[in-house]
Symmetry: D3
Subunit: 252 residues, 6 copies
């Protein structure tokens, strides 16, 4: 049995609180076990220079942890004067993942920035950020849609993310911090509602892994992500039905 009593293929309890920050166009407070993240979506009516004049939208993300989100206090990156490599890697991942389910032509020349701020960390902060940011982004885009600022709903599919790993020779789903620090293999998977991979990032720094192990990890991740998407749907309520619909209409 796992350190917190879960089965190997069991997620931690997930709670998504929507409309958490009053100023943001979309916002959620997402808790996955003891990992807690505030995700806000901000809409700006302009795109970065490299995208100007193309009639397309842009989705980007920023990620940070409060200094005491962790066991030992971390120095602020603002005080250090620069973003660390881990932060940059994570925020690039979040942005890339979200863009994979967006039709930029339907969003129009505007930018959505997803801020993912980890309030408390207990493993899986990047995957939790993606799962929460997807909901915040959807809520912000829904506001554009309700205000008739866009006519086609530009989100083509659901999107969630989970970590999996090999810990003490076991394939485990949704690692908490203690498990993560003992894992020989560590993998983050981002997947769509259609069950397609958007990102697969597996690392065996401690111990290289075989094709069979890889397959087991991906299978476990897929099950976890399905559950997560069900929770996202609940949090989004009626908005859920808009996702992917226009795209299917367009296809048919």
């Amino acid at each position: 049995m796992r350190v917190d009593g879960r089965q190997n293929d069991q997620l931690r309890p997930i709670r998504i609180t929507t409309n958490y920050i009053k100023h943001a166009e979309g916002s959620v407070y997402i808790e996955v076990g003891e990992t807690k993240v505030i995700c806000t979506a901000s809409i700006e009516e302009r795109v970065p220079p490299f995208m100007k004049g193309q009639g397309k939208g842009w989705v980007t993300a920023e990620y940070a942890m409060l200094p005491r989100a962790t066991q030992v206090r971390n120095q602020r990156e603002a005080a250090k004067g620069k973003l660390g490599g881990r932060t940059m890697e994570i925020q690039r991942l979040i942005g890339r993942a979200l863009r994979s389910v967006i039709k930029p032509e339907w969003l129009g020349e505007r930018t959505i920035t997803l801020d993912c701020d980890v309030i408390q960390a207990d493993g899986g902060t990047r995957t939790t950020s993606i799962t929460g940011a997807f909901v915040a982004m959807t809520m912000a885009i829904n506001k554009l849609h309700e205000n008739k600022m866009i006519t086609k709903f530009p989100i083509t599919d659901f999107l969630a993310s989970v970590s999996v790993g090999v810990v003490q020779e076991q394939t485990m789903l949704d690692l908490c911090y203690i498990e993560d620090s003992k894992a020989k293999v560590d993998m983050n998977v981002v997947m769509t509602g259609q069950g397609k991979f958007v990102e697969v990032q597996g690392t065996g720094e401690e111990s290289p892994f075989s094709r069979e192990e890889l397959n087991g990890l991906l299978m476990s991740a897929e099950l976890g992500i399905r559950e997560m998407i069900a929770i996202q749907k609940e949090a989004l309520g009626a908005i859920s039905e808009k996702i992917g619909m226009s795209v299917q209409v367009a296809k048919s």
Copy 2:
């Protein structure tokens, strides 16, 4: 009547949730109206170089806002690569205020860092940070005391802070953002449980103010701070009784 229906000398509703972040030695989530701040206290068993070998403790503070704590998204200072002047000014103020009620010899050679992270801003973020940080600091120091790492409780008095201002010719207590942006005079006051001033910072950039106006502002602030300290006492429960006691013993 004020924009949110309050009397001129009425505080906004205050709520202090203690033990908000599991990893921190002390932590609170403080809400003053729609202004919401997470304050954590972190203890480290070392002091900055300029204090080494003196047998004294150090208290310092850091302050930040989440990018979307405000109506319009602010760029992260970590992304800009440096702290802004406003941030520095505020975190220097918080640290100075907290140190005024600490006996550093009784704290021993350790540092307490107060992180004040504004989740949602609606005026008074620096005063709310001080009021919340005092509670978080007290809880962390209480842990040291309970663990017998210190013998004398080194907090000599309560400490809270509030803003006051002159808005449309009226002296108002605890300005929300709308009031703050219309204020001709803007003042932040930090005061102890004994009713002594620790910081008085009044600015009349829009319109210089007279001695009478100053007196009215200080009187209003004093009343507000008394109420705030009552709420701090409730949040701290039995720990409250330790504050100032050893000092009185020492004096008598």
Copy 3:
């Protein structure tokens, strides 16, 4: 008696040399005791982005100390690669203070930058900078006025600043460095020619202070500032008469 033989309510000798730097539109070399500051006013025919198109002017300030202005050499902030919190706090204060006596509409869309460079420091560098910068600013604005680039003289009142403090239970005016380092309470006051407060910044980090003490400090500061303004008038000569005049005309 004080360390340099002064009475408690006595200023140090003040000397203001105008037109000190040939390239600047306005410049003074101000000496308050052993504290010596060069203040230059530079006019640029543009305003910062956030003020464009409003037909208003902007006044801002920068502050620095030569590395060896102090007893022990300080590392240059340019070499460190960033401004310290103290510097930022001071230059924000100087800018705010000067703007309080400016009618931006009468200045037109131009920026006046006051550079305050401390050549030698002996306490009160920020208050000396404000007192000197007011004169340099007035001289630069007078040039605009003489050249008919502005028609109404946009300075509405005189402005000067002094420090006061409680040192060894005594209220003292215009602290020198030795006094400042022993002060229990330290306050900087900025006041107009009409005797109104523009900034009141009192700190009792060492020892909180009562309302009575505050009143004594403010009274002492007011007397000191009156004297300083008399010296500013002398330095400005005939230009003095322009200050506040147009405003009074407008009011009558």
Copy 4:
């Protein structure tokens, strides 16, 4: 047929020149098609602070591109004053990959820094860097071994890396720049001589991918890496035989 006439599962020509830089303990110039990278290995007799006193070695990597390695000149990161996110991501990947085949206890308390400087870029610069850096690291470690500074050869396996992708519905091995920019799915694989995965990083920002596609990509990568390791062996000559040997001895 591919843009440069290759089969879908065909690598570009690979050339590894050893001892390319006279000052470095190990160095190679590696060319994979038109992608050209200088890899140097530098040995220092100390480890980073977080590893001191453990008797273990550390392997780390830095990555950069000459400004004109690319079609359009890139601004130097030294001139910008900070490393970009892509650079950080890549150098973290290279370091992690190399550490996966090192026994740090056998290396002793020393650091090996692999500098990978891209002279000319045509796709696959990070995978080429890993493949080249492995050879440079091996040569540097061999010098330690020959000089009797270490007794057990601490490299446990070969290691190489290649990119694969889905371009115009085809699974292709070792993408050149033109292919990479058209790829719907892009994956970098790092693998050991034993055929185990060290890193699998697949991205479908343009178009999410299925499990079948993933399997095809991994299979193609495996074939490519086997070929690459054969070329590494040739470049290393007799040193090749040391790799993994002591480990096998230890196991048996």
Copy 5:
């Protein structure tokens, strides 16, 4: 005899490989003894802000060393977050030197950036960079000329550079690293094909030098530069004939 067997007035072997980097408009790989530098010339169809609208071109240079170009590994300036004083000094020198033989009106409003990256250092990296950058610049400009983007060839003369020094009381030409580190006087000379000085930078930090020594050094440098220009001509082939010609036409 010198450490590498040369005569005092003998250059090290020089090899210039043109078209070394496929993406650049002009590029050379220059070897002077064991000093090896890649020089690329990049053309951009715009000039810096301070030159806009004058119809003139701009030539500028950047200089860097790979971390392991030297005996001991140097930290990357990109990792430090700033350029060092030595780097800035050198790149300013290279840019200034190249501009001295350019007629900016004939180049048109475009910028040529010369990147000089030292792959391996053994003394004379700045002089080697100038000698190589001149060839790379000429090749890039020739492309503009061949493509009829400019009508007059804007290079008015050849340009090369060499170091000279006083080592163990001897005047030596083209110092290698060992000689350079023992030199009492160290001088870098940049000269045109007409034998005129563009830069003379002599330093006697170790031991001031007389007018006679200075004359000896300049004479030796002049001979070395003549030889270098002969090698540049060979590398440039037919393009050589364009240099200075239009100017002579204009003069006659």
Copy 6:
């Protein structure tokens, strides 16, 4: 005749005020025409890491200009967050020049930092800085000598610096700003009391120069520096006699 009525070989009026800053171990205010520089010498009882344990002293310099030292206000380097190339080049030059007349073994393990801050600039700020810094350094070292902290006076010779140039076909000494901006050739010369060169930095970016021109420039510089050294001697009074004396004793 020159723009300010001087002969071609005539210096501007020079005034050196010693003991200008009370806190510094040595300080001068030097005026060369309208160029005005404050030079302070600070002694610290430690050397940089690369010199520890050798029993030798270190001399270094920093240079800056007040923002309004020039016709147009310059942005502060502290505000930009980095030193410019020109600043670095100049402070390296000043430090190198001063070290050329110091016997580091006689100075002991201490650092002398010369801060040269330009209050007002009118050409020749770097040469004026060197000439003034030499006097400030000498005064600081004299204090060490008088306090018996060193036994041998470690300054081996006088040192001063001047600019020369070719302006409108004329060789001119000590260029003011207007002349400098029109100069075809610009040269800075640093020379000892014995008439030996320490630095010769000539630039003909506008127009390469011949050996004859170079000779004329050097001759003019030599005459100017002789005059300057006479003025230094006057400013130093009796201290002058110590310079070079111990060295001569040692030699004889």
